[in-house]
């Protein structure tokens, strides 16, 4: 008896839908074992992770707030990945967008600046994210440098720049030497949707981005170009599509969305610029993109699920003293299983007898 992977004639749609669920199932099994090794009751740990956050309104709002940047970034990343352009540096583009947008907030602090401030911040955040993403894209197109490495390395540059600014020039004079800017003025803040709640306008924007992504990929010739260039590069060139142009375009879009997510996070839930504004949104969004099958609707669902793990992780830390890093372990294992289960879309398992003699026995 032997287990072999056999190529399917056509990609299986059922498995394409089911594979993320299998991956989640396998992850939960693995986590159960991990919790047991940590000496925690796995049932109650899983309950705290996945059920408790769904039981009260505050947590539900918080899930939406956390999902907002994840979904926004992941939509952009999915465009890159579909086009075979590997942007791993969304975290850096997120931070750059946050920094650039905050610049307007810091400079207009305490002035009579009007309602143009927030739109200008959002715009500048998106532009900065796009420009920052274009650095690895141009290096790739012009010099053939691996965008995987360059985009990842630029994350640390952005991180250190933000650190410098909030400890140096932009530090709040009344901030007791904490590395943070002053709280943004109301005109520089993303309005909340519910009085006194956490849910903010950015969540609506994220939904618009999902819809726009779905239309772009499903209905437009540009979306088609992006998909062909990734799926069959030579056929794309035969079709007259320019791969380099599409690398630049998808990097710019994903950078812009990451930058927009960054400034929304700063001008919304956080309210000021400080280090640690992101618990790794840019990296987690990679998992969201793949868990969501690089499909906008899938990404929306996957974003909400990963946001749940952030909230659940915080709950578990508070109530069960499980380290917050376990959340990252969880996300890493999940990505691993998602990629592994993806092979089932194009292949299937078959059990074969390993020796021809056995088969001949019937003869």
């Amino acid at each position: 008896m032997q287990l072999i992977l056999e190529k399917r004639a056509e990609r299986s749609k059922t498995v394409a839908l089911v594979s993320p669920l299998i991956a989640i199932g396998l992850t939960i099994v693995t986590m159960t074992i991990l919790f047991m090794v940590l000496g925690k009751n796995p049932i109650s740990a899983l309950y705290v992770y996945f059920i408790v956050p769904l039981t009260d309104g505050y947590s539900l709002q918080e899930i939406a707030v956390k999902a907002t940047p994840l979904v926004m970034i992941a939509i952009g990343l999915s465009l890159c990945y579909l086009a075979n352009a590997w942007n791993i540096g969304a975290e850096g583009q997120f931070l750059m967008g946050a920094v650039a947008g905050s610049w307007i907030a810091v400079k207009t602090q305490g002035t009579e600046a009007g309602h143009w401030v927030l739109p200008a911040m959002l715009l500048l955040g998106a532009v900065a994210g796009a420009l920052y993403a274009l650095i690895p894209a141009i290096c790739k197109v012009r010099f053939g440098a691996s965008e995987i490495l360059t985009s990842l390395m630029l994350v640390y540059v952005a991180d250190l720049l933000l650190d410098y600014l909030v400890r140096g020039p932009w530090r709040d004079p009344q901030g007791f030497n904490f590395p943070t800017t002053a709280e943004f003025d109301p005109v520089a803040t993303v309005p909340t949707l519910i009085e006194g709640g956490r849910l903010h306008l950015g969540s609506i924007l994220a939904l618009i981005v999902v819809a726009a992504g779905a239309v772009l990929l499903g209905k437009t010739i540009k979306g088609f170009e992006i998909r062909v260039v990734g799926a069959a590069p030579r056929a794309a060139r035969f079709g007259g599509f320019n791969a380099n142009q599409l690398i630049l375009l998808t990097f710019a879009i994903s950078g812009a969305l990451a930058g927009l997510a960054g400034i929304i996070e700063v001008a919304g839930p956080v309210g000021h610029l400080q280090p640690g504004i992101s618990p790794g949104y840019g990296f987690t969004a990679i998992i969201v993109a793949f868990l969501g099958r690089l499909n906008p609707i899938g990404i929306l669902i996957a974003g909400l699920f990963l946001a749940l793990t952030f909230i659940g992780g915080e709950q578990a830390q508070i109530t069960m003293k499980i380290p917050l890093d376990v959340t990252k372990v969880f996300q890493g294992i999940l990505l691993f299983y998602v990629l592994a289960c993806d092979s089932l879309i194009l292949y299937r398992f078959r059990i074969v007898s390993s020796s021809p003699q056995v088969a001949r026995g019937a003869h």
């Binding site: 437009t220 010739i221 001949r360």
Partner: protein, 523 residues
């Protein structure tokens, strides 16, 4: 003298190799269905069949690459179980594959050494290589790198590699597909000699005239089953073809009258450096193709046909716009989409991955080449109804068989996908069609449909440029034939004057020397 018996002279009482009820199942698909085959020593045995008839599976089983699901192999009457090719080689079974497995950057001797199981030293092996290759009239320099060699010479490496194991049973998979007629003749001399040495040869081909000339026995497969074993010398090419296909092949008919009109595709002294180290440089290519004409380009693969296709399609741009003129407009600098808008259409050699995106639907693959002109794209949005309509029209006009209305390209058989691709381009009513290897690896029925479509397109006033390695195909459909060799294109000959011998000489580069000298004298 005419051979009246169905089998060749037998030197022993039992066949050297037999397959008995050999069956190979892939899932529910029967690749080989109870095949009985007897191959005797001192015999050249042809294995005939269309693509997908089960020839490859059968020879792979004999060579130990595939394990049979049922049935058995017998070697000199004894049951034989092969768990891999090395066991087959140890028995004395050798195989020359259609697709060479050679490392371009290694020398001939290094390549041969990699394929041998023996323990002799590299120097001994090199000496033996030279000796074997010389004694069979297949001269090879062991120290030359493979990328410097012609396709015919590369095949020699594969044959010599097989011969160095001193096989008693040699399998050759379509060995003449890449050879000029003269090179094929040389190969036949070698095969006759191997036969006279008492070896058995299993010869896979779909060139029927060649089989009639060379082979003593022929076994015909169709749909995984054995149809018959016969003496090919006693059959006609038409009767062999009928057994292979199962039905009568439709004759391809050129239109009664065709108007030759204005020049629609002109190439003026096109020179192009290759974009990779092992590519071919295009040297001074010129031609003029008028509406209503079909020009065939013959030549052994790898003589610049791919590079010419890329230059014509615009996948590679020429520095001088005037070198390629489409419909009277200088197009050398234009992208493939702009050239399509001028009325040009292209069908590349590779169906999957070049002509289509394999994992995308047919409607999306219609959009791939249809987006530049027509109504498939409006204000940046894809008109799905129009793309589906294109699929339906191609399906109907060219009899594309598929499981559902809009499947993935990769799920179609080679012949049906090729019909779709050719149909997709022809239904755009092109003024110029450039097509490379239109019927490569396509079943005979589909090939006839495609050739007829090209003839009809020309009859409708379009200019058609066909590159093919199949001389019979070019002679059948072209008005004129030119030959590519080492990046040069010969002057074209009217098909009536283009004998196989003349074309074969040009394919081997013979008359180009004199032309080059004349050119040198001019300047």
């Amino acid at each position: 003298m005419r051979d009246t018996t169905s089998a060749a002279p037998r030197t022993s009482a039992t066949p050297l190799l037999q397959t008995v009820g050999l069956t190979k199942r892939y899932g529910s698909f029967l690749a080989n269905d109870k095949i009985d085959l007897d191959v005797w020593s001192q015999q050249i045995h042809a294995l005939l069949g269309e693509n997908g008839a089960g020839k490859s599976t059968l020879v792979k089983t004999i060579y130990g690459l595939v394990q049979p699901s049922e049935g058995e192999l017998r070697w000199e009457g004894q049951t034989m179980v092969l768990s891999g090719p090395s066991q087959a080689r140890a028995r004395g079974i050798g195989m020359v594959f259609q697709h060479f497995s050679l490392f371009d950057n290694l020398t001939v001797a290094e390549n041969v050494a990699l394929g041998l199981d023996g323990k002799e030293s590299f120097r001994e092996m090199s000496a033996r290589l030279e000796q074997v290759s010389r004694s069979y009239g297949l001269p090879l320099d062991p120290k030359r790198e493979v990328w410097r060699l012609s396709v015919g010479e590369r095949q020699r490496i594969e044959i010599v590699r097989a011969l160095m194991q001193n096989p008693r049973f040699l399998i050759l998979d379509e060995p003449t597909a890449v050879l000029t007629p003269q090179e094929a003749d040389q190969l036949f001399v070698v095969l006759e000699r191997l036969k006279s040495e008492g070896r058995a040869i299993l010869y896979i081909s779909h060139k029927l005239e060649e089989v009639k000339r060379l082979c003593d026995t022929a076994t015909i497969l169709r749909g995984g089953k054995k149809v018959s074993t016969c003496n090919p010398k006693a059959e006609t090419a038409a009767s062999l073809a009928r057994m292979m296909v199962g039905t009568e092949i439709k004759e391809v008919k050129p239109a009664a009258s065709r108007k030759i009109t204005v020049p629609r595709l002109v190439i003026n002294d096109l020179n192009l450096e290759p974009d990779d180290a092992h590519g071919v440089r295009l040297k001074g290519i010129s031609l003029e193709l008028r509406g209503g004409e079909i020009l065939g380009i013959a030549g052994v693969a790898g003589n610049g046909q791919d590079e010419l296709f890329a230059a014509l399609s615009g996948e590679r741009l020429a520095s001088d716009p005037g070198t390629i003129v489409i419909e009277g407009i200088a197009a050398g600098h234009l992208s493939i989409s702009r050239r399509r808008k001028l009325g040009a259409a292209f069908v590349p050699e590779e169906r999957l991955g070049h002509g289509t995106a394999p994992r995308m639907r047919l409607s999306e693959n219609a959009l791939l080449t249809g987006h530049a002109a027509g109504n498939m794209v409006q204000h940046g949005f894809v008109n799905t109804a129009a793309t589906l309509n294109a699929v339906d029209r191609a399906t109907e006009t060219f009899d594309v068989r598929k499981a559902k209305r809009d499947p993935e390209a990769a799920s179609l058989s080679g012949g049906n996908l090729q019909k779709f691709i050719v149909g997709r381009e022809i239904l755009r009513n092109p003024a110029v069609l450039v097509v490379s290897q239109p019927t490569w690896g396509v079943d005979a029925g589909a090939a006839a449909v495609i050739r007829q479509a090209l003839l009809d397109l020309a009859a409708g006033g379009a200019a058609v440029l066909v590159t093919s390695q199949d001389l019979d195909e070019l002679i059948e459909i072209s008005d004129r034939i030119a030959v590519m060799f080492h990046g040069h294109l010969s002057a074209s000959l009217p098909t009536a004057e283009a004998s196989r011998e003349k074309l074969g000489l040009l394919m081997g580069g013979s008359s180009l020397e004199t032309k080059e000298q004349a050119h040198a004298a001019d300047t």
